[in-house]
């Protein structure tokens, strides 16, 4: 038996090495094909863009206004998520909340609902005629066709990704490390600063990147509650409607340029840092 097992590990599989090599090549080819299919839309975009058209579209008066609006709204939405979502994520990760499964399900709801439906429901929740809308009015805010409404819609679209992602990142930090830091004399804010955050940072970074991409690309809820002021996705939609597909492509490129680099950098950094911090467990009798 032992000899057979060794033989199997050494590569003597039924069917012969040639067949297995062929199967490996087919598998690799399949993986590459899926990768290419996923990249297909980006390729199509780059193939249909002409620099002269891009230059003309982006140099038109006011063409970059929606970009600035989107950057501002997404930055504000992300800042709010960091301030409001991080404690919730932390408490979820460390099981500090009553009925944790219900809380987690609640965070999942906006993620599971189609963004368009979120927009519709936001109108019923915070529209000008609702109690929430009237309360917002008291502080001179409106959740309908305003910059605030844009931020709110982006918050709903990106929020679940952020909270669940940060919770997973914090959960990946061994609570024993936090306990050790506390036993060595650190109060919890210092434990968070010296241990939890540095170790959760790769996961938090990739979560921030994904939340950024979700926020800046938010469209479904935005078209209902924040048609104005135009953000980038709305600009693409309106241009498509009014001038056709070729005219919208330059703005799609702009959206990709502002949405993609941060996620890609975040994911690459996270992968590198996680590999470096991998510790093999000790084998000590239990």
């Amino acid at each position: 038996m032992a000899g057979l097992a060794l033989g199997e590990r050494a590569g003597h599989r039924p069917g012969g090495p040639a067949l297995w090599r062929l199967a490996g090549l087919v598998g690799l080819g399949g993986c590459l094909l899926v990768w290419l299919v996923l990249l297909g839309p980006l390729g199509a975009l780059l193939a249909h863009l002409r620099p002269s058209v891009v230059g003309r579209a982006l140099s038109a008066p006011g063409a970059l206004g929606p970009l600035v609006t989107s950057l501002e709204a997404s930055a504000l939405a992300l800042a709010l998520l960091v301030v409001l979502g991080t404690p919730l994520a932390w408490a979820m990760a460390r099981d500090r909340l009553p009925a944790p499964r219900i809380i987690e399900a609640g965070v999942l709801v906006p993620l599971l609902m189609p963004p368009l439906v979120i927009g519709l429901l936001l109108v019923f929740l915070a529209g000008p005629a609702t109690p929430v809308g009237r309360a917002l009015g008291l502080v001179h805010l409106s959740a309908s066709d305003t910059f605030f409404a844009l931020v709110l819609a982006e918050l709903y679209e990106a929020g679940p990704y952020y909270v669940l992602g940060v919770a997973a990142a914090v959960r990946s930090v061994d609570p024993e490390l936090e306990a050790q830091a506390a036993l060595l004399g650190d109060p919890w804010p210092r434990v968070a600063r010296r241990v939890t955050l540095p170790l959760a940072a790769p996961g938090v970074a990739s979560t921030l990147a994904v939340a950024w991409a979700r926020a800046i690309g938010a469209f479904g809820a935005v078209i209902i509650v924040a048609y104005h002021p135009y953000g980038l996705p709305m600009q693409i939609w309106v241009t498509l409607e009014e001038q056709g597909l070729p005219a919208a492509l330059p703005f799609a490129l702009v959206l990709l340029v502002v949405a993609l680099p941060l996620p890609l950098l975040g994911l690459l950094w996270a992968a590198r840092t996680q590999r470096a911090a991998q510790v093999e467990p000790l084998e000590v009798p239990g």
Partner: protein
């Protein structure tokens, strides 16, 4: 703020973890080491967790140098100091090293001067880590990581040291050195220390007293020598390394006699526990050890069996001896060390081994006494 007087650790803990209720009372004076031993799942680590504040007390108290660290009483709100205020240095089985910090930063994490604290350099050198101060834990071997964890616990100036299998990943040479370091640090700082270990050598070199635990309960407490010499029960004997349990009929008051029992056998003895250390010598064929003037005949009790075989253990030869127990008890095979160079007797031949006073247990497994001296004059030879 003046330093509280050193009174050591006084604790009574009842803690429920993984459906096991664990109870223990501990008193560790300053500069002393209390060892806890027991099988996996006995609740040893749970006791340490309760002392450290990592597991909530169901009932009891933990007092260090007269200061109440935690208390839980029925019908009252439990009290517990935050972990950072307890002054505890702890090495857990998983070590909990900070993977993103260097060895020096790990060592100095709880030290007043951080990585540049003089204790970091001193302990780093004593633990053989001075070449590794800039490395991070993922790059270290298991033994090196264990030394970092120990150094970190000591560099934090603890008032109580809790060590859970702290030497398990060390090689023999480092194990010796690190044990000696722990012993000197504990004495120098008058640190009360609780040491959990599977290894009797760790406990015998460091622990002043031991608790033997099984299934969440303390079976016996006392100096290790006392526990080894007189285990309170058959279970304790098993846990401290007794390998063979024989009915009285398997022993002889003299190698040549066939009768068993006698004045030296405590009343009610049902089983006699044998530890390898209780074999008083290699013994020999009954006819030879019987001869007057031989050292071996000084023993009061003998085990007589048949040679089953031998295996070379490097420095000695282990003779496997089958002891056919009377009364239908199963046959027991003992390993008897023979001095190097001794001829291996043929299989099937009779062999008698002298015994030191061994503990005797009744049918319920409780200690009833130890094999005593035979009072019958002239029984030998």
């Amino acid at each position: 703020m003046s330093e509280p007087a050193r009174q050591g650790l006084d604790a009574q803990v009842l803690v429920v973890r993984r459906a096991l209720s664990v109870a223990a009372s501990l008193a560790v004076p300053p500069g002393r080491v209390l060892g806890i031993l027991g099988p996996s799942g006995a609740g040893k680590s749970s006791v340490l967790a309760a002392l450290a504040g990592l597991a909530p007390l169901a009932e009891g108290h933990v007092r260090l140098d007269g200061r109440l660290l935690a208390e839980a009483r029925p019908g009252r709100r439990p009290h517990g100091l935050p972990l950072r205020e307890r002054g505890i240095g702890m090495v857990t089985q998983r070590l909990g090293l900070f993977p993103h910090l260097t060895v020096a930063e790990n060592l100095g994490y709880g030290a007043p001067g951080g990585a540049r604290d003089p204790e970091v350099a001193r302990l780093g050198a004593a633990l053989g880590l001075d070449e590794l101060l800039g490395a991070r834990p993922p790059r270290l071997s298991g033994g090196q990581r264990q030394r970092v964890a120990l150094g970190r616990a000591l560099a934090g100036r603890p008032r109580l040291l809790l060590l859970d299998e702290p030497f398990g990943a060390l090689d023999a040479a480092w194990r010796e050195r690190v044990r000696a370091l722990v012993a000197s640090e504990v004495a120098r700082r008058a640190l009360p220390t609780v040491l959990v270990s599977h290894d009797l050598a760790d406990l015998s070199s460091l622990a002043d007293t031991v608790l033997v635990m099984d299934q969440g309960q303390v079976l016996q407490a006392g100096p290790l020598a006392g526990v080894l010499g007189a285990p309170a029960s058959q279970r304790v004997a098993e846990l401290v390394g007794y390998r063979w349990f024989l009915p009285p009929g398997a022993l002889r008051p003299h190698p040549g006699e066939t009768a068993s029992g006698g004045p030296g056998l405590p009343e009610g003895t049902s089983l006699i526990g044998l530890h390898p250390a209780l074999l008083a010598g290699p013994g020999g064929p009954p006819s030879e050890v019987r001869s007057a003037g031989s050292e071996a005949v000084e023993a009061d009790w003998w085990l007589v069996g048949q040679v089953e075989g031998a295996s070379d253990q490097g420095f000695w030869v282990e003779l496997r001896l089958g002891v056919a127990s009377p009364l239908g008890a199963p046959r027991v095979t003992l390993g008897v060390p023979l001095p190097p160079g001794a001829g291996v007797p043929p299989a099937g031949s009779a062999w008698a081994v002298p015994l030191r006073p061994a503990p005797c247990f009744d049918a319920a497994g409780a200690l009833v006494g130890r094999l005593g001296a035979r009072s019958v004059a002239g029984a030998r030879g």
